[in-house]
């Protein structure tokens, strides 16, 4: 098994899990799914500069083979943006849940019941 196979299958598994979660009806699963997808995207961008081991990214005398530094810069930008966006979507999902009483993505108003554990945990929190 090569290094390439490992990275490629990791990206594939992350995307598959991300798509499964992103298609769920509740916001928290969707947020987790988006996080998985963005991890996969970051790995993919990193791999787009080719996978090489122990090569310098900076021009130096006596070195003929380099690793490409640009994808690493791109990944950094992508990480910063997705980090901010994940924070935003978590807050947004929370506000939406608190204002509408439902955490369904498609807008169906399905109040949370005891089955979800929401009602009990809220009750326990207030009890003392």
């Amino acid at each position: 098994m090569t290094y390439e196979f490992l990275v490629a299958s990791a990206i594939g598994v992350l995307v598959a899990g991300g798509i499964y979660l992103a298609l769920r009806a509740r916001t928290f699963q969707v947020v987790l799914g988006l996080t998985l997808i963005s991890h996969a995207v970051n790995l993919f961008l990193f791999a787009s500069g080719r996978l090489v081991l122990a090569r310098p990214p900076i021009l130096a005398k006596g070195v003929n083979h380099y690793t490409d530094p640009l994808p690493q810069a791109l990944v950094l930008t992508a990480i910063v943006i997705t980090f901010g966006m994940t924070a935003l979507v978590v807050i947004l999902a929370l506000r939406s849940f608190l204002e509408t009483g439902s955490d369904h993505v498609d807008g169906a108003i399905v109040p949370c019941d005891g089955q979800d554990g929401m009602a009990e945990s809220a009750g326990e929190g207030e009890a003392p």
């Binding site: 992103a22 916001t27 969707v30 988006l34 997808i37 963005s38 995207v41 993919f44 961008l45 791999a47 787009s48 500069g49 080719r50 640009l70 994808p71 791109l74 930008t77 992508a78 943006i81 997705t82 901010g84 966006m85 935003l88 979507v89 947004l92 999902a93 506000r95 939406s96 204002e99 509408t100 993505v105 498609d106 807008g107």
Partner: protein
């Protein structure tokens, strides 16, 4: 270097400076913050007009950020198309901002003006950049600002629609990055002009990957342009957003169309070898379907703002029917219609707001309500906005659609384009007539109207947008010639590559 050399970056620099200034002064001096925001919009309009004047003779200005030569550094490219879009953005921004200030919609949250400026910065940057990854970054800037603007005013409906809007766009951003990664791995560059030159030399074994990258990129742009079947996020988002914001959002779908017009000829153009115009066969049917869905939505909409949102989808579909011909005549007609349809959709959102403000609890629902103040004036504005969106004479939409029809006649499957454009126009006219007669002619007997508003100042902004449509119709000869020149320039990527890379393109 003089100021004239730096003119290209001004449309990005002005809002980038104005936005933090707004954040700083807003808490203590609200009026100063509003003044900064308005001044920034005026300066942007001046800079955009200066750029248009410079690009008018066909000059393509490449501005190397940090003076790093392309393709190693990021370049901004100002040609006719970019200048037209900048002028349109600044004009629309000014109208939307004026409406927000007049209706006091900007007072519902602290950071309206800062977000508004960041939104304009993202839009201007997306129109100017000549680098694909930079395009992604500016897309994110405008999207992040739009998340804030869309939620401005809050309330459960906005939050619910906001979650869907953000999730849909995050998935779009992820796909954009995957497409960029593929293209970078294949070509080793992110500069659009350089990439266009290198795509032709890609090995036959990699053609499949190139096609995947091209189609992914086009899907992302289609998502931003709300092209069917990726249009589902748009209606609820635009219908519940603050109307002044929705008016500005009228140009956001056009950013997707602009990116298509920019990237497809330059990177996947005639010189791309086996991958030449890969997305073309997919765009055409999708454009036809969006035009039908959009204007059918106009027909069945239950509220004025919802109707305007569907009109955005329909007009984008009509626009892409023209664009997907990839000929000078059809693309020129499309660009003329792009300017028109953006202003018309914005006018419709503003009229919907003006009516909603006068109808009390009935808001903008398409049901007979109370007899409200200024009914004749608002009704006239709605009539004109409806004429503009549907594309009837005397406003510019008629000329735009006529040019699209004329250009489509030269193409093999012209029957479909003619049938869809003429059919959807009829549906839209009936839809607007139905809603207009319910809102402006019929009166519910028991309905109690709210007191008349203190001023009629909020009628100014829709009137301004409609006057611009009239001006566009009056100056249609000049405007359509400019649009055609811009289309010719976009379809000649070699000239752009010469200007950006400073050498003859292969």
């Amino acid at each position: 270097m003089t100021l004239a050399d730096h003119l290209t970056i001004l449309p990005i620099a002005i809002p980038a400076l104005a936005a933090p200034a707004c954040v700083l002064v807003m808490r203590r001096r609200r009026r100063l913050g509003m003044a900064i925001s308005a001044l920034s919009c005026l300066l942007m309009l001046a800079a955009a007009l200066a750029l248009l004047a410079r690009a008018m003779d066909g000059t393509i200005t490449a501005y190397a950020l940090g003076d790093w030569p392309a393709p190693f550094g990021i370049v901004l490219v100002a040609d006719r198309l970019a200048a037209i879009m900048l002028v349109l953005t600044a004009t629309l921004g000014l109208i939307a901002l004026a409406h927000a200030i007049i209706t006091r919609a900007d007072r519902k949250g602290w950071h309206f003006h800062a977000l508004f400026q960041f939104q304009l910065m993202g839009l201007n940057g997306a129109f100017l950049t000549g680098d694909l990854f930079n395009l992604f970054v500016f897309f994110e800037v405008l999207l992040i600002a739009s998340y804030g603007l869309m939620l401005h005013g809050q309330g459960p409906a906005r939050l619910k629609a906001g979650v869907q809007y953000v999730v849909a766009n995050l998935v779009g951003s992820a796909l954009f990055l995957i497409a960029l990664g593929l293209l970078y791995a294949l070509t080793g560059t992110l500069n659009m002009a350089d990439m266009g030159a290198r795509v032709a030399a890609i090995a036959p074994a990699d053609q499949g990957l190139l096609r995947i990258a091209a189609l992914l990129l086009v899907s992302v742009f289609a998502l931003k342009a709300a092209l069917a079947p990726l249009h589902l996020w748009l209606v609820r988002t635009y219908a519940v957003a603050t109307p002044a914001v929705a008016a500005l959002f009228a140009i956001m779908t056009k950013v997707g169309v602009y990116a298509l017009i920019r990237v497809v000829p330059q990177v996947f153009g005639e010189s791309a070898g086996a991958a030449a115009f890969v997305p073309a066969p997919w765009l055409w049917p999708a454009a036809l379907v969006s035009a039908v869905i959009g204007f059918a939505g106009v027909f069945v909409a239950r509220a004025l703002a919802e109707q305007a949102a569907f009109a955005v989808i329909g007009s984008t579909g009509t626009l892409l029917i023209a664009v997907s011909g990839w000929q000078v005549a059809s693309l020129g007609a499309g660009l003329f219609y792009l300017v028109h349809s953006t202003l018309a959709a914005a006018a419709l959102f503003l009229v919907a707001d003006v009516a909603a403000r006068r109808r009390g609890a009935f808001a903008d629902s398409a049901a007979p309500g109370p007899a409200f103040a200024d009914r004749a004036g608002v009704g006239l504005a709605f009539l004109l906005a409806g004429i503009g969106v549907a594309g009837l004479p005397p406003l510019s939409g008629f000329l735009g659609k006529l040019m699209i029809l004329k250009a489509a006649a030269a193409q093999p499957q012209w029957g479909w384009a003619w049938g869809v454009i003429l059919g959807t126009t009829l549906i839209a006219v009936i839809g607007f007539a139905r809603v207009g007669s319910a809102v402006f002619w019929k009166t519910a007997p028991e309905a109690e109207g709210p007191p008349a508003p203190a001023s009629r100042a909020d009628l100014i902004t829709p009137a301004l947008a409609l006057a611009l449509l009239g001006a566009l119709a009056a100056g249609a000869g000049w405007a359509s010639a400019l649009a055609e020149d811009a289309a010719r320039q976009v379809l000649d990527p070699a000239a752009s590559a010469r200007a950006v890379l400073g050498r003859g393109a292969p």
